[in-house]
């Protein structure tokens, strides 16, 4: 058994996520190994990079199936930014990419305001501001929080996905991560 497993898919910013966990006194490992993904107390799917290369990487290591199996057993998974988007059925990014499919929903290019959507924004109904950096946004029936009309958190069963970067959202982000860790 291992503490927190941060899933490696080649381009994720695993360093910042791990630094935030360290700050909270939690040790973590970076891995794409299916056994580690099955056994971790909490699995974090971080987010940076493009949907296609991330899915290719997850498929080549079997991490995608390991995440589906883990989800089916009800063990917690946290998806961050691209990690949230990859958990849905489909993304329009890179000409269209099928996701892991833990939740119904799809990902589309943002068409309002300046794109990428960069910076801090208030998340409702939680009330705090978190840091965002994204050009694509989710449409999902499992939305649990929004920001300026954009779906920014989705939850179904043991999966919680957030569009913002808690590891880059100062004290509000650390408090969010701490809440995610509390059942661990």
């Amino acid at each position: 058994m291992s503490d927190v497993v941060v899933v490696d898919y080649g381009a994720g910013n695993t360093r910042s996520v791990r630094a935030a966990l360290t700050h909270l006194g939690v040790t973590s490992v970076v891995s794409s190994d299916p056994t580690m993904i099955a056994d971790g107390e909490l699995v974090i799917l971080p987010g940076v990079g493009s949907a296609r290369s991330a899915m290719d990487h997850l498929e080549s290591t079997g991490a995608d199936q390991a995440l589906r199996d883990r989800f089916a057993t009800g063990s917690p998974i946290l998806g961050i930014c691209l990690g949230m988007q990859l958990a849905l059925d489909h993304s329009d990014e890179d000409g269209g990419v099928d996701g892991i499919g833990l939740l119904r929903g799809s990902v589309h290019l943002i068409t309002e305001g300046r794109v990428p959507r960069l910076g801090w924004a208030i998340v409702e109904p939680w009330g705090d501001a978190y840091y965002f950096a994204h050009s694509y946004a989710a449409t999902c029936p499992h939305s649990v929080a929004t920001s300026e009309g954009v779906t920014v958190a989705v939850e179904r069963g043991a999966f919680l996905g957030v569009q913002f970067h808690p590891e880059k959202s100062g004290s509000a982000g650390l408090a969010f991560l701490e809440r995610c860790l509390s059942p661990v």
Partner: protein
């Protein structure tokens, strides 16, 4: 639109912060890690590190600075200066930076913008433009090119820049306010966010820039009094600009 951002810029040479940071409360004013943490705690929404020497032998030093900063900072940061290739960008981003800023290198090889954006997403690529008299300047303002500012900003965004960092050469360092006309012209020409830079001398200057731009870069106004950052934020907010709420600063 997300909230306006206040972005202190730290000039780094040989792994040390240079250019007039005055503060008695810091053990080591030249330490980028300590200063970054101090600004983050004081209400910076983001930070920019500019490697102003960026010689090949400094790149290893900068990489280790980036890694150390990433380990203590819980806000995003951008690294510029010395990013001349995709390999440089990989090195900086894999060390923990959120974004790289390209300046002269993007002008010399515009394909670099798209190459980095394809790998990390366009939010990871900032194109910095030093502008004066309608044209782009490079190499810290020492070289005046024939490239027109607005068309270059448009091209950079279309090639994959996720943000334009616009510095007015004529206003930079004078502390008499930002070049609002130039900032507005670039903002109107592109659909990506714009960071205004050059000329911040007061909270009122920053507030008027933030009515036009998505973010403001600040340097000497904060470096001469790092402990004054929370007060500067408050003043800007009192002028009607909404910044992110920070419970720990109240």
């Amino acid at each position: 639109m997300p909230l306006a951002r206040l972005i202190p810029c730290l000039d780094v040479a040989h792994g040390r912060v240079v250019k007039g940071v005055n503060f008695v409360g810091l053990r080591d004013v030249g330490d980028p890690v300590e200063l970054a943490k101090f600004y983050s705690d004081g209400g910076a929404d983001e930070l920019v590190f500019l490697d102003i020497t960026a010689t090949p032998e400094d790149s290893a030093t900068m990489t280790s600075v980036v890694a150390e900063v990433a380990d203590v900072l819980e806000i995003p940061f951008t690294v510029g200066g010395g990013v001349r290739s995709v390999e440089d960008a990989i090195r900086i981003i894999e060390s923990g930076a959120d974004r790289v800023s390209l300046n002269s290198a993007a002008l010399a090889d515009p394909n670099l913008i798209g190459a980095i954006a394809r790998r990390y997403g366009r939010q990871a690529v900032v194109v910095a433009i030093d502008a004066g008299d309608g044209v782009v300047h490079t190499h810290g303002g020492r070289v005046v090119t024939t490239t027109k500012t607005i068309p270059w900003a448009v091209e950079a965004a279309s090639r994959g820049a996720g943000e334009i960092l616009l510095t007015s050469i004529s206003h930079d360092g004078k502390r008499e306010g930002f070049d609002l006309a130039l900032t507005a012209a670039v903002r109107d020409a592109v659909s990506v966010p714009v960071i205004a830079s050059g000329g911040a001398g007061s909270a009122a200057h920053v507030a008027e820039a933030l009515r036009i731009a998505d973010a403001a870069l600040i340097a000497s106004i904060v470096h001469e009094n790092p402990a004054g950052l929370p007060g500067l934020r408050r003043e800007i907010q009192e002028l009607g600009i909404q910044l992110r709420p920070m419970k720990e600063l109240i």
